[in-house]
Amino acid sequence: MPTLINLSHISKLYGSGNTEVKALWDVSLTIDQGDYCSIMGPSGSGKSTAMNVIGCLDRPTEGHYFFDGQDVAQLDDDTLAAIRNRKIGFVFQQFHLLPQLSALDNVALPMVYGGVAAAERRERAAAALQRVGLGNRLMNKPSQLSGGQQQRVAIARAIVNRPLLLLADEPTGALDTTTTEEVMAIFAELNQGGITVVMVTHEPAVARLTERVVWFRDGEVIHAHMSPSDVSYGALVE
């Protein structure tokens, strides 16, 4: 499979002089299209910063980041916004649904910014909700949905623009065991359908459901190709 994500000697520094913090230091990492990968590491290891860089939410201080063959390291805000819109879907721990909008409108939101016509938006948003098993909840507001359902709406929103990459930040952090399994099943199914899935997690049980683990510590990649079955061991090492 071709490479989708190629981080080449990426560093991200905050502050300067004595207070300088190396959030990422000389990180090189490749993730291929179709990978199902989790990023792990203790708090402050740089996994969130790496995730922000990978998601084109943040620019590295140094290095090159080739996403889908394009060097996106130093593009401006609006260009990055357009890339996120077309090629990346986000799922967050706190769902981040807009409370005033229905499930359908929440899912349609990325298409609004993508300039898709209203009729097509409705159709595709409904299809995406159908795909995550919420075909009968189109008009519900987030407050009328359970946590697992809200996260599924968020996943529908992430995939509605048919992205290359699904980026999930602690997607099961706010869910119980049963709904965690449901959500992970959806991720696995989407990955089967060809979407690259990268998730940040610190739950070994969740990481073990993915195919590859990238381990961060102190802003550096310690293991780039860890087997998910070794995760509990890795967690013990930390």
């Binding site: 922000n52 998601g55 939410l57 943040d58 805000d77 609006d78 916004a81 357009a82 996120r84 819109n85 077309r86 986000f90 967050f92 706190q94 981040h96 807009l98 409370p99 005033q100 909008l101 409108d105 939101l109 990325p110 609004v112 910014y113 993508g114 300039g115 929103r157 623009n161």
Partner: protein, 394 residues
């Protein structure tokens, strides 16, 4: 993201928090309502004054003793008064004038049997009725007029009343006129000026019978200026004045009275509008305040929107449109309130206040631009939020 999308989005957001939206609009509503009603009131005032001036009589000129310059300075003057002979001369010698009335007002005690009243005694000549646009009433008179107080429900005509203990016969009662530019002709008796001079005032100046002022009716509207010119010349001749600066009389017509009133009321209107505009401004600042709070509260929403692909402009426009909708809707509601306020003012005051279309257009336009102006700062804050920071905030 096109404009219609932004509009529906903004409406959805604003209707989601109705209480906050309406409270935000309140400032603009009050501001707009006060601007429109105050200006409406201000515009009603000259119309009212104009009506009053029209009721003085058509094509009327007032010849008033005194010098225009010294009058303006409010100085004490010992100018020669106008006399009855001046009025008679105007009537006889000025061709562009059809009727001339001289008036002299003195206070008097009026009594009828055991009822007394203090009222003005106006001495004049018969032309008074036509010049001043009065009409003779029927036998009964209504209202708080002298006749009603004295005669109650008796027929006044033919009765004998006493002015300062001198008997007069009532030959007629004037129709109720209402007070006019501060003079209440409903509370006065009108008697021949010669009788007044000899029996009530009891003295004359060396020049003849003094009068308070002379009013004259020009032949028609076009001859007003001619009449003014001719009267001026005649009086200068009679008073022996060569230098116009030494005039001891001056002539006012409805136009000069109107322009004086206009100057005063337009200054008043301007002042009212300025005061009301301040509340409009405060309303705008209120919108800015709430929008700033709203940006802070909605950082997560902004972060999410940016994460899924909203550009800086998309966010900027969204918040600007929200601010404009708030202020324009507030402006529209304020306009309706202002118009009803004008209706109320018309009932409570003699002014026939009215909402002019131009004021409404300007007020709504201004409140809309206030939204735009005061919306810019919060919207820019929202637009430059970093999506990571915004998403992280809880």
């Amino acid at each position: 993201m096109d404009f219609r999308e932004s509009l529906t989005m903004a409406v959805k957001t604003l209707t989601a928090s109705k209480l906050r939206s309406s409270l935000t609009m309140l400032g603009i509503i009050i501001g707009n309502a006060s601007v429109i009603s105050m200006v409406g009131l201000g515009e009603g005032a000259p119309r009212y004054i104009n009506e009053q001036l029209q009721s003085l009589g058509p094509n009327i000129l007032f010849i008033v003793p005194g010098n225009r310059e010294t009058r303006r300075l409010g100085g004490l003057e010992l100018a020669r008064n106008l006399v009855l002979a001046d009025a008679e001369a105007i009537a006889e010698q000025v061709p562009s004038v059809i009727d001339v009335a001289a008036e002299n007002t003195t206070p008097g005690l009026i009594s009828f049997f055991n009822r007394n009243a203090n009222a003005s005694v106006i001495g004049t000549n018969p032309a008074f009725i036509t010049v001043r646009n009065f009409t003779m009433g029927q036998v009964a008179v209504r209202g708080n007029s002298l006749a009603e107080r004295l005669f109650e429900d008796q027929v006044a005509r033919g009765q004998s009343l006493r002015i300062n203990n001198i008997a007069f016969e009532v030959v007629g009662v004037l129709e109720l006129q209402g007070s006019n530019l501060g003079v209440n002709y409903d509370d006065a008796v009108i008697i021949p000026i010669t009788t007044q001079a000899s029996r009530i005032v009891g003295r004359t100046s060396p020049y003849g019978i003094e009068v308070s002022f002379i009013s004259a009716t020009a032949r028609n509207a076009d001859s007003m200026q001619t009449a003014e010119f001719q009267i001026t010349n005649l009086l200068r001749l009679r008073h022996g004045i060569v230098d116009p600066a030494e005039d001891d009389f001056f002539i006012q017509n409805q136009d000069t009275l109107l322009s004086i009133a206009d100057t005063i009321t337009s200054a008043l209107t301007l002042m009212l509008a300025a005061i009301a505009s301040i509340s409009l401004l405060v309303g705008g600042i209120g919108i800015m305040n709430i929008m700033l709070v709203s940006v802070r509260e909605r950082t997560q929403e902004i972060g999410l929107r940016k994460a899924v692909g909203a550009s800086r402009n998309d966010i900027l426009i969204q918040f600007l449109i929200e601010a404009i909708i708030l202020s324009a809707a507030g402006g529209a509601i304020g306009t309706l309130l202002g118009i009803s306020g004008i209706g109320l003012l018309s009932l409570l005051t003699p002014f026939e206040a009215s909402a002019s279309v131009s004021v409404i257009v300007i007020a709504v336009g201004i409140s809309g631009s206030i939204g735009l102006f005061f919306g810019v700062i919060p919207a820019r804050q929202a637009a430059k939020l970093d999506p990571i920071v915004a998403l992280r905030s809880i």
